[in-house]
């Protein structure tokens, strides 16, 4: 099975973020970047499918030069080759614009399966994978935790609300957007890190892909969440208060 995994480099989760002078993006100098978490799960799923089925895993990422670090990490983890869409102006494109770039880069590969993360940890739009499917005219499913090849197509486990799952089948080629947590992520082995240097790493510029139309969606402004303290006193008997607390922890704070 030939699988393309689209991965995005995003600011590291623990990195302290500051808003830049334009007020439209964060200050990138001195920032640490990492592989978008759902994309790391998409890569993991692809590598497991390859190990079970044979085939090839191609990682693809769009972005400036620094994205190379994340691409090489994917190669070190076991992807076979990489395509880097070099673009310094991704911030000025909307999800449709980025998906068009990715679609153009994928077309000549004619893969059996395309995986993306469910959403990115920075913008959180959750659209790129879905638009990509539309542009490529392929069936798609989102929020996928697990993929199994059935010989004729795919059987996938999809996450619904409140602990419910759905199992669906779809033909290949297809696009799936992967949810975090379906598998345990592997580490890059030291041998893998060494081997990554010998793998094919192809760069194609956004200009060569010929897609640069004006964005239909533009980002107006970003802001840090304002800190707010709101203390709530739960009334009623201890039993009633405890029940209300559990309810809140479950559905508002979502921590139990």
């Amino acid at each position: 099975m030939k699988i393309v995994v689209a991965i995005k480099q995003v600011p590291d989760r623990d990195a302290p973020v500051r808003i830049d002078a334009s007020g439209k993006w964060i200050e990138e100098s001195g920032l640490q970047f990492a592989m978008n978490e759902p994309d790391a799960y998409a890569l993991e799923e692809a590598l497991r499918l390859k190990e079970a089925q044979g085939g090839e895993v191609i990682v693809l990422s769009a972005g400036p030069e620094r994205v190379g670090t994340t691409i090489r990490e994917a190669l070190a983890k076991g992807a076979d080759r990489a395509i880097h869409i070099t673009a310094d102006d991704l911030g000025t494109r909307d999800a449709l614009g980025v998906a068009k770039l990715i679609a153009e880069a994928i077309k000549p590969e004619s893969p059996d399966l395309i995986l993306t993360g469910l959403q990115s940890e920075d913008l959180g739009l959750g659209q790129t994978g879905v638009i990509l499917a539309e542009l490529l005219n392929l069936p798609h499913a989102s929020l996928i935790l697990h993929v199994e090849a059935t010989g004729t197509g795919l059987k996938v486990k999809r996450e619904l609300e409140a602990g419910w799952f759905q199992e669906i089948e779809l033909p290949t080629p297809a696009v799936l957007t992967i949810q975090s947590g379906g598998n345990k992520l592997r580490y890059a082995t030291l041998m893998g890190i060494k081997k990554a240097k010998t793998k094919e790493f192809r760069a194609v510029s956004a200009a060569d892909l010929g897609q640069s139309s004006a964005p239909t969606v533009t980002l107006g402004q970003i802001a840090l969440p304002s800190k707010q303290r709101s203390t709530q006193i739960l009334s009623g008997s201890a039993k009633e208060a405890a029940a209300a607390l559990v309810e809140k922890l479950k559905f508002e704070a979502r921590i139990i």
Binding site: D14, G68, T69, R72, E73, A76, Y187, A188, T189, L190, M191, I193, K194, K197
Partner: protein, 392 residues
């Protein structure tokens, strides 16, 4: 209960590491955070070596990481050092196991071994399917290994080994022991032998009652008329220089490892000082005396990082001297011990419990200060190097 480790990089050295170096550290850091940190306090309490982590480390390429071929990862010395740093951030005893397997067992086989020995042992040791130990120290000879009394006598087409080795890391779990002995028929020249631990006459007994390196196995070895074939002699060994070459490899790794232990203590102390409040509802980090301690720690850790990085680059360029490695081992272990002690102080009563890693690091580092050449012996090595006069 402890705090999540925060990277310690005051001088922005990370910006100077290569992409591969950072990836190697990420793998080792992830492995330690996910697999070792959650169980280490319990292992230390129970005096248990977490053997179950060996296969994963084998898969990741941690054993003999800076050797080429035979299933080894072929890492640079800086990359190897970063792995040691992360492992010892987890625990010095755990790192000791990897140091012994890599620098004291695989390195001598790789450097002094025959092709047959290399092909037999290295791939299995790299995967962690076979384990090794290094027997140099004896009950009567520690800092002065040249005085050793273990002997090898040529007999027919092999050797007969007799003697006692003491304080041997991984002794009772090893499949093969690298034993250093004086060869009677060769003017008592010191040579290295591979001794399979299931040979008649070989036995290992663990040292109990250790307050240090409790998550690592330390044993005494006894060799009574142990017959080995001549093919078990490490052919390239000759004289005390051979085991000292192995120690150099391990000491180099320790210089990085000690930084890891210190980083963990500092990261814990800093976060504790920022959250613990005393007097006027102020975090203790706001007090000048606490700040001075934190500043001492970060200064010394930063200097140690520069030192090991520089020595590592020298080693990668083939230009390192044993005295450079002595300087790094001596300085970094000392600074880690002092850092652990200051961190313990900052945590107050909490500092003495195993809810935090500090007391464990403190106790571990006492061994690290002693083994692989004590702090003072390294002073003498350095003194010898700069004055030309041996003062041992």
């Amino acid at each position: 209960m402890g705090f999540k480790f925060q990277n310690v990089d005051f001088l922005h050295l990370d910006a100077g590491f290569s992409e591969d170096e950072l990836l190697v550290r990420k793998t080792a850091r992830g492995f330690v955070d996910d697999n070792l940190v959650p169980i280490i306090e319990e292992c230390f309490r129970e005096g248990r070596f977490p053997r179950e982590l060996i296969p994963t480390m084998g898969e990741l390429g941690f054993f003999g990481a800076n050797l080429e071929g035979y299933g080894c990862a072929g890492m640079s010395n800086v990359e190897y050092g970063l792995v040691m740093q992360e492992l010892e951030r987890g625990d010095s005893g755990f790192r000791s196991f990897v140091s012994v397997q890599s620098a004291l067992v695989m390195y001598p086989i790789y450097t002094f071994g025959s092709d047959e020995q290399k092909n037999t042992w290295l791939p299995a040791l790299a995967k962690g399917e076979k384990l090794g130990c290094f027997g140099l120290t004896e009950p009567g000879f520690g800092s002065n290994p040249g005085g050793m009394t273990t002997t090898a006598r040529k007999s027919g087409d092999g050797y007969i080994l007799n003697g006692e080795k003491m304080w041997i890391t991984s002794g009772s779990i090893a499949d093969v022991a690298v034993i250093w002995a004086k060869v009677e028929n060769e003017d008592n020249r010191v040579r290295g032998f591979l001794v399979e631990t299931d040979r008649p006459g070989f036995s290992a007994k663990d040292v109990h009652g250790k307050w240090s390196l409790r998550a690592s196995i330390t044993s005494g070895l006894s060799l009574v008329d142990v017959h080995i074939p001549a093919s078990n002699l490490l052919p390239g060994t000759g004289g005390l220089k051979s085991p000292l070459m192995c120690l150099n490899q391990a000491r180099y790794g320790i210089s990085w490892g000690a930084i890891g232990a210190a980083m963990d203590c500092y990261s814990t102390a800093l976060q504790y000082a920022q959250t613990r409040k005393q007097f006027h509802n102020q975090p203790i980090a706001s007090h000048q005396l606490i700040q001075e301690k934190l500043v001492w720690m970060i200064s010394e850790i930063s200097k140690a990082q520069l030192l090991s990085l520089h020595v590592g680059r020298l080693k990668d360029a083939g230009k390192v001297g044993h005295e450079h490695i002595s300087l790094a081992k001596r300085n970094n272990v000392w600074m880690a011990l002092e850092t652990a002690r200051m961190a313990r102080d900052i945590l107050g009563a909490n500092g003495i419990t195993d809810d935090y890693p500090i007391m464990r690091h403190s106790m571990n580092l006492e061994s690290v200060k002693t083994y692989e050449g004590t702090h003072d012996i390294h002073a003498l090595i350095l003194g010898h190097s700069i004055t030309g006069i041996a003062a041992y």
